[in-house]
Structures are given as structure tokens and as C-alpha cells.
Symmetry: C2
Subunit: 224 residues, 2 copies
Amino acid sequence: MYQPTATEENYLKAIYHLSNTGIKSVNTSSIATSMETTAASVTDMLRKLSDKEWINYEKYKGVKITRKGEKVALGIIRKHRLWEVFLTNILEFEWEEVHHMAEELEHVSSEELIKRLDKFLGHPKFDPHGDPIPDQTGKMESHDKFTLSAGEAGEKYTLTGVTDHSTLFLKHLRKYGLLPGVTVSIAEIMDYDKSMLVKVSKDKFHLSLEVSKNILIKKYVGSK
Amino acid sequence: MYQPTATEENYLKAIYHLSNTGIKSVNTSSIATSMETTAASVTDMLRKLSDKEWINYEKYKGVKITRKGEKVALGIIRKHRLWEVFLTNILEFEWEEVHHMAEELEHVSSEELIKRLDKFLGHPKFDPHGDPIPDQTGKMESHDKFTLSAGEAGEKYTLTGVTDHSTLFLKHLRKYGLLPGVTVSIAEIMDYDKSMLVKVSKDKFHLSLEVSKNILIKKYVGSK
DNA sequence: TTATTAATTTAGACAAATCTAAAAATAGAA
DNA sequence: TTCTATTTTTAGATTTGTCTAAATTAATAA
């Protein structure tokens, strides 16, 4: 119907993420915070998005994304994550470097381009941070909701993703070799502060609860 | 100094091309034509570009691009042509399909991205249409100015590029297998209309002057 | 050289996206 | 329930890039 502008795409992406990962209702101020703008700007944009039927919006009542809006958001998320795979796997950027570039590349409009990029990359199912990549119809594998902080001493896990995507956190994890696919064994959990002693390949080190809460895992299922 | 917007980049690119490939002076209306906009819009933009010292501009006197402006333009041309190489060589698009996508990709800002893309592609010197790719400092190999229409009967040439970049023309050439790098022998030139009978691999066919004028060549220099 | 035509610039307006400051509506506490 | 604090919306401006129509300058032809 309408062709969204890059700004509209960014709002829809933010609203989609808030709808799914956030706990609270999607209101004007939460959108303003995540878009780093003012509540007044958000109100203006909500009216536009509503006119175009990408969201349902009533004054003072918050926002709900429509099927149409969700389709737009998933399309952008697909592009973003495919470009992230390209940047890390092909151009050999580190996982903490790619987010900003992908934010620009995701707005390049050609559908055929993204179809061929997907094929060239081998139809990846997850991006470098372990987030699932939607297919052309918007379907994707669901993320493991398990965090390392909920793991048990003596157990072995595979790192599948992160919940904090900040550069700072990702750089921190790479210092320990904590990357998607890596095996993590919990040697001990400290009663006092819930920090844990973990083993990654041959290294042993402590992780604070702050860190383990932001690491997604699944149960380890054998080496081959 | 200033960071050009995508629109400013497009104007500078157009002015650069008009300055180099065009015959006439770069005036308001020629820019308006090439940007597909109105003279009034061009005048507005010329003032802005002049304020930022990317061009020298005096009312009613036409435009001259500055060194600074040239640097911006060459940066964009470099990005455009490298993305075109990526799209044809890696994603296997045809040469007539890539221009529009490259127009979007060229405005993605990261210098590091383009540096790595260049490396990944093997530091190509020419894009799929035979146009030279500037290096990081703006230097590039000069285009062969020789067109096939100036060739001689009985001689052998290598196709190096085109002067008409339209989809229609490029599609037309591909039908004959006329692509950069291909060897073209002129069998005969017709006195009447200057059309020529040429041989490309095992095929022989006629080319009108209209077509041969838009094909760039250099002398053939042996098979190995 | 003067008159007419063509090119260019100015004036004023518009759309998108943003902002600050003020007004209105809702939510929470007493 | 009524008052206060918070959230949200409105009002009015700003910036970027665009437009049409009118005015101005330059070019050209008689």
C-alpha cells in the first residue's frame, strides 16, 4: 500500500521490539526512550503510522502494532540481521562493530537484493548475536529464553545469544571467548552474590550475575 | 568539515560528472536536467553547496566544483562502483540491474566498510561497465576515450566500457555478448551509414553507428 | 541597439521530521 | 473523591528539500 520512509521503518521496528521483548505496555514515553527522541515527536509519528494502518492508536491509550505493521517490522529486522551476517562472516567485522552499519544497510529497499544476499550467505537462521533471522514470510525460529543465570552448577550449556546488545557488553564477552556456539560449563555458583565460576574451552573464570543474566543458553547436546 | 547529506552527495556527483564528461559549462539547467528536478531547486541547493565550499558559485555565472567537492564526489563514485562490482560478481546480478541499487548503497557512510569491501573484492580497478574505480585518495586509471565507431576495418579491439549507461543499451549489448573484456574484430565498415560488420567470438553481426559510438575500446594486445 | 526570448533567481508555500513550551488528560495518593 | 504529579498531546517553530509562479538577468536576433 504505502512505502514506509526510513524513519517510519525505525519507529515500527522499535514498536515491534517493545511489543515483544518489553514487559510494559507500549506507550509514548517508552517509544521516545528507545528512539532517543521526545514524546511530542512520537505523538506526531504515531498519528502518521496509524493513518497508514501500521498501528492501532488511540490518544492516551497506547499503541498496538497491526499485522501490516508487523510485516514491515519483520522485513526490516530480516534485512538488518542478514547484513550483520554479511559484515561478520564475509567482511570479518567483530560482532560488536556491525550494529550501526546494519542500521543504515537495512533501509536499502531492493527485495531482490536481500533475497540474493540471503542465498549467498547460505540462508542463515541466526545473526552473529544469536538473534533469529525471519524468512521472507516473517517466520523465524524462536529464541531460547533461558539465561545463563538460571543454569545449574555441574551442567554444560551452549551459548545461543545475548539480551544486551551494547558494544560494551559484547566486547566484554569476547574477552572471555564467550561467543554464540561456545560451550559453557558451570563449575560453581556462589551463594553470596550468585556469581558463577565457569569453564569455556580451557579457561576458568568468574562471571557476575549482571553478566550471566544477559547471556542466552540452551542445554548442551553432545559434540557431534 | 561538514558531513554531506545524501542529497548533497547526489548533487556533487552530478556536478562532477557534468564537469568531466559534459561538453557545455555546468549551469543551473544542465544540473536540473541530470537531477530530474527544477531550476529553482537547483539554485537553492547551489547556494548551500557553495556555503560549504564544495563548489564555487556566482549568481548567473554557473558552477565550478572545488577540490573539496571533488573529493566528496570521488568518494561517492568509489562506493557506487565498488557496490556494483559486489552486486554483479558476488550476488550475480546482470550489469544493467545494478545501477539503482548502487545509488542507494553508495550513501551508506562507513569508510571502514568500503575499505573491507574493496579488499574482499580484490581491489578491482574497474566496475562492471568498465568505469574506473577511484582509490581512497581519489586516484583512478583513466578511461580509454576511443570509441568503436572510430575503429578500423580489419583491426581487433578489446571492449573496455560504455558511454551510455542506460538499462536499454546495456541489455542490447548483452544480447550480442558485448561485455567488458570481450574481443571485437571489425570485418567491414559500410560507407553509406557507417554501420559495421563485427565478429565477437564466433558470431558475426551488424552494429549501427548509434551503437558503436557508445562502446569504448582499446587495441587488442594478444591472448596471453 | 533595442526588443524579445531564454535562463536563472526570488518569493512564497508545502511535506517530513523534529524541537520547546504550554495545555490537557490520566493515574496515584491522601 | 479530590488533589497533585506524571504522562501525553497540542501549538507553534525550525530544518531540509522540494515545488510553482513571478521577477530579474543574460543572450540573441532584428
